[in-house]
Amino acid sequence: MLQEDNTIKIPQSLYAFRGHFVGNPIVPGIYSLELAVHLVSRILKHEVTLHKVIRCKFMKPLTPGMELASKIQLLSTENNEQKAKVQFLIDDTVTVDIHFIVIGTTKKLC
């Protein structure tokens, strides 16, 4: 789903669509959070864990075939906590807006 250039292409055959929902496939909201955490991890070049969700807004359901751009901002860092803001956009319109905090691990991404 997540491409090398940080864009997202939602596949027609996402495994989660089997149960979310039958006959009405919508990407579960938590997938957006997982993608956001992964994007931050990619920028920091080490694995991170979701520590706190400050706010996350879902403006539009994500459905099969959609293509999204991502906008990632690393905000303040305190101790081992990295605050970040990630937005997913379709045609410059924000569809998901996430403010969250991750904590770093020492594991480097390959």
């Binding site: 495994y15 989660a16 089997r18 149960g19 979310h20 929902f21 039958v22 009405n24 579960p28 909201g29 938590i30 959070l33 997982e34 864990t49 979701l50 520590h51 706190k52 969700v53 400050i54 706010r55 996350c56 807004k57 879902f58 359901p61």
Partner: protein, 136 residues
């Protein structure tokens, strides 16, 4: 009675397995966590989904959710305290804090053996019944 009567989520996404208790403004549900292997590597976000699903169960069970699909519109202030042990069940406690019309605000906590693992708030939008729309 099957939980699926109150929840549109199906395997592999369905997390809530049964209702343990409920009252006017709250509900406690159980998640058979050892069987939810699909989520074990993403347990933090899975716990958010548990709170969202338990909220959906509550709305449907209380028939405040009409017969349409409820949508998760926002989540706020989720603090992760601990990661669940994969071998024990989880309980999800939901309390309705308020709402306006079709919008509901719900507070949730996930526990494992009385230990709180995460707390947070979800915002839901509940679709209106087709018949109600026609009467408007």
């Amino acid at each position: 009675m099957s939980i699926e009567k109150y929840l549109p989520h199906r395997d592999p996404i369905r997390l809530i397995d049964k209702i343990i208790s409920h009252d006017e403004a709250s509900i406690i549900c159980q998640v058979d966590w050892p069987k939810k292997k699909f989520f074990h590597n993403n347990s933090h976000t899975a716990m958010i989904e548990m709170i969202a699903q338990a909220s959906a169960v509550m709305m449907a069970y209380k028939k405040t959710g009409q017969d349409g699909l409820g949508m998760l519109t926002a989540i706020k202030n989720f603090n992760f305290i601990a990661t669940p042990n994969p071998s024990d069940n989880l309980t999800v406690e939901i309390t309705v804090e308020g709402g306006l019309g079709q919008h509901k605000i719900v507070n949730g906590t996930v526990y494992q053996q009385q230990k709180s693992l995460v707390k947070g708030r979800v915002f839901l939008y509940l679709e209106t019944k087709h018949s109600e729309k026609q009467n408007e």
